[in-house]
Every structure is written in structure tokens, then in C-alpha cells.
């Protein structure tokens, strides 16, 4: 077969097309800081307003039990060890003092048992990294609809760029944006006082980015694939709005799954958001549990591979009418 081709191997040509498409959108995105700001605003508001006000830890703190006047406690002498005659009287003031301390210890322990950490703000702040990644990834389908409407997609389709590369350029784009925006959210969280576990080190940052990358690849593959044939961005907005909320709330992004009813727990167990969020928490605020972390990453890797393969297959099949 004789094809007039330039003196470079085919895979290099494909990569060139892929990166050209990806850079085109990244370039536009960087030129519009407003869009970036709008995107990170929502998770930041959740973090600041909800995270700081829903200070669950404070409920169990010593202050909550101030000014509770307990009556003096009288205990029959035969009940104590060793038994004595008569009644033992413990003054209410001493009781209050002890219970204050006791409850705040119990409360802190209970929080730690449920959330894995005694500080809800830190718990939520990490969840918000998941939130921004979900937003960015689900919106990636929009850009293919715009490309179609503005005619640009037609041009791309008439060039030798493989169809899967068209989808994958958008997916990569979403992943890069997710990582960038997560960094902003994460940085702000640190400023607002996330309490890292002692096992945190800067190397963990690589793991954090890997988790975000894998999750974003998987989710945006799905959403770009859904938009392959779509000509209306309204439909896309509706789909995004309909799916982000359930994705968030059927996961551990806001609250631990252990508090959920069974049916919700089952959903949370297959929801990849749970695995990303857990991986992020293991790497930042929890004292790292390596086997669990490995499980998280395995799940995320499977999610990313299966959905991107599915997406690219669909692109190959359905991008031509």
C-alpha cells in the first residue's frame, strides 16, 4: 500500500493530533481565569461555610457540657468496693467536672470511630477535592457538543485523527484540569487548617494526583461518550445536574458510609467516588492503611481502564453517523 506520508511513524502522527486537540482546549481554558474561578467556587463554599459551621466535633467538646448542674449523687455504702456502712455522697460539682472531661473524650473517640478523624472540617475538605473532580469530569461532555455545533468537530472528523483520540483528548483535558483545580482547593484547605496525619509527606502528593487522574479519566470517558451524538448542550447540562448530586451523596464525600442505611451502603460500595475520596483521605488525614489504599487504587485503575476503553470503542463506532 502506497500512501503519501511524512517521514514519521504513524503513532507519532496520532500523538501529534491528540496533543494538538488537547492543547487547543487547555490554551483556551488558561486564557479564561473566570471559568476556573467559577469552577472552584462551589467546593470552596461548601468547605468554608458547611465545613466550618458543621463543627460536629464541638458538640462533644467540654464547652457543650458547661453549666449543667448535676444534683449530688448518693450511693449506698454496700455497693462500693470494698463495702462500707452508710451513704457515700459525691457533690454535683465534682460530677459535672468529671463528666465534662469524660464525654469530651468519648465524643472525640466516637468521631474518630465514625469519621476516622476527630475533625470534621478536615474530613469534608478532602471530600471537596472529590467534588471539584466530579464537576470537571462530568462537564467534559459539553465541549464535544460545542465542537459539533460550531462545526469544528466536522473538520476534525475529516482528518486522519483516529476517532478514539478525539474522545481521549477531551478526557485527558478533563484530568489535567481536575488536577489543577484540586490543587487550588487543596491549597485553600491547608490555609484553612486541615489537620494532616503524621504519616503525611510531600510524596503522598503524587498518590493524590494519581487518584484524581484515574478517577477523572474514568468519569469523563463516560460523559464524553454520552455526548458523542448529542447536539444540544441543554441536554448535557441536565445530565450533569442530575448525576453529580447522587454521585456525591451516595459516597463518603460528605459523610461516612457506615452511618448510611444498608441499601445506600451497597451503592456507596460500588461508587468510585468513595474509593477516590478514601484514597485521598488515607494519603492526607488518616494514618495510612496500606492494604486499603491498595484496594482503592486497584478499584480506581479498573474504573479508569474499563470506562476509557468503553468510551474509545463507542467513539470509534458512533462518531460517524
Amino acid at each position: 500500500m502506497k500512501i503519501e506520508s511524512y517521514s514519521q511513524p504513524v503513532f507519532k502522527s496520532i500523538l501529534q493530533g491528540l496533543f494538538a486537540l488537547m492543547n487547543r482546549e487547555l490554551k483556551k481554558w488558561i486564557k479564561e481565569p473566570i471559568i476556573l474561578l467559577m469552577a472552584v467556587l462551589q467546593p470552596i463554599m461548601w468547605m468554608v461555610l458547611f465545613g466550618k459551621s458543621m463543627n460536629i466535633g464541638a458538640i462533644f467538646s467540654a464547652n457543650t457540657f458547661k453549666n449543667i448542674n448535676l444534683p449530688d449523687l448518693k450511693i449506698p455504702g454496700e455497693l462500693v468496693n470494698p463495702p462500707i456502712d452508710g451513704l457515700i455522697t459525691i457533690p454535683g460539682s465534682i460530677l459535672s467536672e468529671n463528666i465534662e472531661n469524660l464525654l469530651s473524650i468519648i465524643g472525640g473517640q466516637a468521631l474518630e470511630n465514625v469519621f476516622g478523624i476527630s475533625d470534621y472540617f478536615s474530613y469534608l475538605a478532602v471530600g471537596m477535592i472529590s467534588m471539584i473532580t466530579i464537576f470537571t469530569s462530568t462537564f467534559s461532555g459539553m465541549s464535544i457538543v460545542w465542537d459539533r455545533r460550531l462545526g469544528f468537530l466536522y473538520k476534525v472528523l475529516s482528518t486522519p485523527v483516529p476517532r478514539p483520540a478525539i474522545l481521549f483528548s477531551k478526557v485527558l483535558n478533563a484530568a489535567i484540569r481536575s488536577i489543577f483545580q484540586s490543587t487550588i482547593v487543596f491549597g485553600l484547605a491547608i490555609l484553612l487548617g486541615v489537620r494532616f496525619s503524621p504519616s503525611f509527606s510531600l510524596i503522598n502528593l503524587l498518590g493524590i494526583y494519581l487518584a484524581i487522574f484515574l478517577f477523572s479519566i474514568g468519569l469523563s470517558s463516560l460523559f464524553v461518550a454520552l455526548a458523542l451524538r448529542s447536539t444540544r448542550h441543554e441536554t448535557q447540562i441536565a445530565v450533569v445536574n442530575l448525576t453529580t448530586m447522587p454521585l456525591m451523596f451516595t459516597s463518603n464525600a460528605f459523610f461516612p458510609t457506615s452511618l448510611m442505611p444498608d441499601w445506600l451502603q451497597t451503592i456507596a460500595k460500588i461508587n468510585p467516588v468513595s474509593y477516590m475520596t478514601d484514597a485521598l483521605r488515607q494519603l492526607t488525614i488518616y494514618s495510612m492503611d496500606v492494604p486499603i489504599l491498595l484496594l482503592d487504587f486497584t478499584y480506581l485503575a479498573l474504573f479508569a481502564t474499563s470506562l476509557s476503553v468503553l468510551g474509545m470503542t463507542l467513539a470509534w463506532r458512533f462518531l460517524v453517523r
Binding site: M1, I3, E4, S5, Y6, S7, Q8, V10, K12, S13, I14, Q16, G17, F19, A20, L21, R24, K28, K31, R149, L150, G151, F152, Y154, K155, V156, L157, S158, T159, P160, V161, P162, V320, R321
Partner: protein
């Protein structure tokens, strides 16, 4: 004998199970030929081009370009052809130069090559001055030329032009015709184009297929088509007042004669260039004198009217309004 570069065999596209947009059309285009698809709105011209450039899958039939099947060997076909679509496809946020380079990247052309080609094309199409301006500031004519540049960046052997001069003023249109002619002459490029300007088809195309309701109604060189509906028109005026109506009617190649003035006649005949002189001689032989003679060829407008039953002018009207609407739509979007 030039070889067949585009071979279309019973190509058919049915949208949504019942809308037959292209209905079993067949034609071939030879190397270096400019072939025109001419037809009213919705005739199926764009759909035909979209199938040939592998953006749409045919429902039935087959086609090949330079010997490569448009379905089975689509990626090879894409590498070899250039496409200038009906609608604008450039990225408005990028400059003209960036757009051409982007197209080059999509074809996998090494940057050092595509940078050189881009400058050549900008020069060729007279866009050099605007090369670093964003496309959103371009006029319609500049955008068309940029589309042409993008379609040429891979130095294609076969070029597809869908309404290359739609909505352009007379000068810009003439300039684009000039580019198209140069492409054919200098690079021996094979070109398949659609148009609704009769003048354009007449001027540029070696052969034309008139297409209506997805079917090819008639095909041939502009000359052949004009001849096929018969008759050039010769108008003669003689000095004398004698009635020569019957006399002329009897000449074998004359189809029809009408007396239009005191001594003027409108004669419809075939092959005007050859037969008009014979008419003069015939009149002179009868002892009469011709004082005035004019020969008119039938225009493609008449051909179009004859074969589709519609005048192209009505179509042109709605076409321009369509174009305006498209532009308005684009503005509304952003």
C-alpha cells in the same frame, strides 16, 4: 487516458430510516478534472460530499477515492483528501495561522513542514496581513479563504469544496475562482465541488451533475448540457420586408422560428457557431441582405430549469437568507 480518481457507485444515504437524502448516485471523476454537483436546497449535495470525505457512512452503495474504499479504508482516504466544508469550521478563538497549524497537526504533518506550508498558503490566499488576528475578527470572505487554506494544508491530491463561494461578494468570488483554477493548473488537483451559482459551474467545472431529490438528473460538460436542451438562439434582421419565416423553418437544423419585429427573426437551432453562418448564406442566396445578427448560447440557468422544473433564482433567494440566518445563529451563540 487520465485515470478515474473518484468512483461513485450507487451511493445512497437514508436518514432516520425514511429520509432518502442521496438516492443511488453513480459517477466518476478523472484525474485533474473539476467536477461540479449542482442542485437546489436539500438536493443531497452536502450529504454526498460528507460520505465521500468519510464523515458520514453510506447506507448503501460504495465509492472509492484514488482506489481506496471510503468505508473500509477511510483513514487512508482522509490522509489523501482535502475538505472545505459548507459551514465555517475554524476555531474562532485562534488566529488564522494557529488554525492552519492545528489542521496540520491533525494530519500528523511535522511542524517544520506545516509551518512552511501555512505561510505559503496564507500568501497564496492573500491572508498574510491577517495571519496573527483571531478568526472572530475575520470577514466572511477571509473565513472562506482560511477554510480553503485548512483544506490544502496536507497538499491533497483530491479536494472537496462544498459551496466555496457561498455568500461572498462578486470580487471575492472571482478571487476564489482564480485560486481554484490555479490549483488545477499548477498541481493537477482533482476537485469535486458543489455550487448553486450557475456562472460558477459554467466557469470552473469540466463536468457537471445536476442533482435533485438525491438523484442525478443529468450529467455532462457544461457545453453538452446546454446543447442537450437544444438550441442556441440566433437573432437576424434583414434589410428587406419579405417574410422569410416559412423559408427558414424548412432548414433541417432549425428547431423553431419566431418573427419578433418587422423584419427580425428569432431562430432556435443547434450548434449555433456552425449553423449561424449557414443561415446567413442561405438568406443571401435568396437575394436578401442580413443587416444584423446575434448568437446567444443557452445558459445553464435554462438547463437547470429544464431538468429540475425550478428556476435557480428562487433558490438563490432562499439560499442567501439561509446564510444570513446561519450567521445570526452563530452570533447569538456567542
Amino acid at each position: 487516458m487520465a485515470k478515474d480518481v473518484i468512483i461513485v457507485d450507487n451511493l445512497t444515504k437514508i436518514f432516520d430510516k425514511n429520509l432518502v437524502a442521496v438516492d443511488h448516485i453513480s459517477f466518476t471523476v478523472k484525474e485533474g478534472e473539476v467536477f461540479g454537483l449542482l442542485g437546489p436546497n436539500g438536493a443531497g449535495k452536502t450529504t454526498t460530499i460528507n460520505m465521500l470525505v468519510t464523515v458520514l457512512k453510506p447506507t448503501e452503495g460504495r465509492a472509492s477515492i484514488l482506489g481506496y474504499d471510503i468505508v473500509k479504508q477511510a483513514s487512508i482516504v482522509r490522509r489523501l483528501i482535502g475538505v472545505v466544508p459548507q459551514d465555517y469550521t475554524a476555531d474562532e478563538d485562534l488566529t488564522g495561522y494557529e488554525n492552519i497549524i492545528l489542521c496540520g497537526d491533525l494530519y500528523g504533518i511535522p511542524r517544520e513542514v506545516s509551518k512552511k506550508t501555512a505561510l505559503e498558503l496564507l500568501e497564496f490566499l492573500g491572508l498574510m496581513k491577517f495571519k496573527d488576528k483571531k478568526v472572530e475578527t475575520y470577514s466572511g470572505g477571509m473565513r472562506r479563504r482560511l477554510e480553503l487554506a485548512c483544506g490544502l494544508v496536507n497538499k491533497p491530491k483530491v479536494l472537496f469544496l462544498d459551496e466555496p463561494t457561498l455568500g461572498l461578494d462578486v470580487q471575492t468570488r472571482a478571487a476564489i475562482w482564480e485560486y481554484i483554477k490555479r490549483l488545477r493548473e499548477e498541481y493537477n488537483m482533482t476537485i469535486l465541488m458543489t455550487t448553486h451559482y450557475m456562472e460558477e459551474a459554467d466557469n470552473l467545472c469540466d463536468r457537471i451533475a445536476i442533482i435533485d431529490h438525491g438523484k442525478i438528473v443529468v450529467m455532462g460538460s457544461p457545453e453538452e448540457l446546454k446543447n442537450s436542451i437544444g438550441s442556441d438562439v440566433v437573432e437576424v434582421e434583414i434589410k428587406e420586408k419579405d417574410d422569410i419565416l416559412d423559408m427558414i423553418q424548412k432548414i433541417e437544423y432549425v428547431k423553431d422560428v419566431k418573427k419578433v419585429g418587422e423584419s427580425s427573426y428569432l431562430i432556435r437551432l443547434e450548434n449555433g457557431e456552425r449553423t449561424a453562418p449557414e443561415i446567413i448564406e442561405f438568406i443571401r442566396d435568396s437575394g436578401l441582405h442580413v443587416v444584423k445578427l446575434s448568437l446567444r448560447k443557452p445558459s445553464l440557468d435554462e438547463v437547470f430549469l429544464t431538468y429540475t422544473g425550478r428556476a435557480i433564482r428562487d433558490i438563490e433567494e432562499s439560499r442567501e437568507s439561509l446564510m444570513t440566518r446561519r450567521i445570526l445563529l452563530r452570533r447569538a451563540r456567542g
